[in-house]
Symmetry: C2
Subunit: 386 residues, 2 copies
Amino acid sequence: MAETARAPLATAGITHQRVVFPEGLALDCGVVLRPLVVAYRTYGRLNDAKSNAILICHALTGDQYVAETHPVTGKPGWWTSMVGPGLPVDTDRFFVICANVLGGCMGSSGPREEMTDAEGRPQGRPWGMQFPPVTIRDMVRAQAKLLDRLGVPKLFSVIGGSMGGMQVLEWAALHPDRVFSAIPIATATHHSAQNIAFHEIGRQAINADPDFHGGEYWKHGVVPARGLAVARMTAHITYLSEEALTRKFGRRLRTGPMLTFSNDLFEVESYLQHQGSSFVQRFDANSYLSITRAMDYFDLAAEHGGSVAAAFRNTPVRFCVISFSSDWLFPTAMSREIVRALNAVAANVSFVEITSDKGHDAFLLDEPDLFRTVSGFLAGAAERWR
Amino acid sequence: MAETARAPLATAGITHQRVVFPEGLALDCGVVLRPLVVAYRTYGRLNDAKSNAILICHALTGDQYVAETHPVTGKPGWWTSMVGPGLPVDTDRFFVICANVLGGCMGSSGPREEMTDAEGRPQGRPWGMQFPPVTIRDMVRAQAKLLDRLGVPKLFSVIGGSMGGMQVLEWAALHPDRVFSAIPIATATHHSAQNIAFHEIGRQAINADPDFHGGEYWKHGVVPARGLAVARMTAHITYLSEEALTRKFGRRLRTGPMLTFSNDLFEVESYLQHQGSSFVQRFDANSYLSITRAMDYFDLAAEHGGSVAAAFRNTPVRFCVISFSSDWLFPTAMSREIVRALNAVAANVSFVEITSDKGHDAFLLDEPDLFRTVSGFLAGAAERWR
């Protein structure tokens, strides 16, 4: 990874499709972020009745490039198995929108963008760690402004996994009138102590990297690649089940005989090193800090007097809650908490635990049961939509 | 942690009780480590029949100071609940021995000690990363030499948890004639892909610390405190169950109101920071690398033609295998593997899964069921000992 530590950001020079809101956005922390910029991508066409819009909410390290080649990595979009022509989220039928989250690093307002003062005047430097703290609710508010601009009064559905699922829950809680159906996948109403702890390792690793320079690494023409790579490695392990990790890497030595410790890495090690190293090419460390904080502070119950059920009282939203049996980061028990709260307010909810041994990452992978569940739920919802 | 980064090693100047073996030890890697130094502590007295010796094997970050004040930290020994007068491992009855493992940093041969050449001549610098790779079996061989020196032909029992348990299994496999009974606790016959991955995060974090200087940090008067702290944090999370983490820290904010992100840490974060920071005062980074490698390479089946059972064929050793229900690092399934292998060779084995919500760390904590199991097993074994 030493080479990447001083490599220029691969994202430099890429222009993202985006909307600028000069009036800005009032954040939960009290700051008015001015202007607000929301980068986004759409797929398919909004119909005349404006009844076919689906918002996809991305996870921690995702972005708006859901179903097309990623402009930085040149790899396929992150959900090309789910979103596209003829797929469960069928872009021949639906108008699919995905926005880069607030605090992200792919064009939306975030630590990498140019800092502004209270009147929105540019300050000639990136925000870095001066970027105001944002919440999942702030992310949803920014997306709502984007929908206004795109002329979408109400979503047929809002779908997302992991942190995307947190946004789905927040959408249903904050704008029940603008959401017909919601599919929170592999998510929770709050981050557990263990989840927070794993994030904290990543944050500490970034802070410990001398190339971090207190978040002002751009001044030095570097990125805290080593710290960010350790953060990514940690997260990546939590995304895989023990079975998936063993199946992929087991204990096969990468090369040669045992016991020349410095060269013979277990395969899992070289894989994790590769993962960490490719990640730093596309992701901003300050964004990682900002977004992990937003996840850690997410607490739907706390936002509603200590009760998740209160967040959904009288909700007209139809829910399809999905979990994966081998997900230990957002285990099925956390999905059941959501379902119990929805049941407590007599909401319309179906719940599916999908048997998979792929861990949390299953929501991004080729899981036929997931595709069947999503397309079936959307088909059922479409019959009810007026 | 910034202050500790440049603090001198707190262990400087401490003299450990140790034995020097000028003839050295032939390691699994082919190197003869010359001399071999084994630092150790004993408690109680060896009886005339030499039938009351118990060897305690310590875990990754443990040491020989089992049942007395630690000379570096000033805190109580790491197993004062288990080992002492009137306790399950009763020092009024037993002669208890514990040696710092090979590769450790409390006086035994390891990366922190002075490097020697093939003839055992000191080279005027610490080993650092030049210290030859060691295995769990090498650790056991070093302990066997210590027992020879102490005049202990056969152990009444060998007891250890986690990596200590790996040594217990290796003792029974390597020297079945010198072990009357064995208590492997919260351990496994090999490290899983997930366990290796978590270790790799720690190693990467240490490598990424600029104060690591390729392992030659002593030249610069520093220690890679930040990397070592991240490594410790990662490990620490794996030692606790989700329940234990939540109970201890939950989501209570340490101070003040929400959303001043840089100051308001979740309690779990400040705790992990403290853990990481105090650890770097007493532990050597190169030792951490060396010992985690030894754990990752441990594979009892691979040492015996792919079969754990083969390691214990015709074993006369009496086993008491112990696991904890909430241990997700060395889950009960791993202990069952040990038990199945022992059953397959008709060994004398009892197995206890202790119900605990404290995770892997339970073996170090106040767990009455653990104490009852160990004292009961030792009492039964004592009746059979001749």
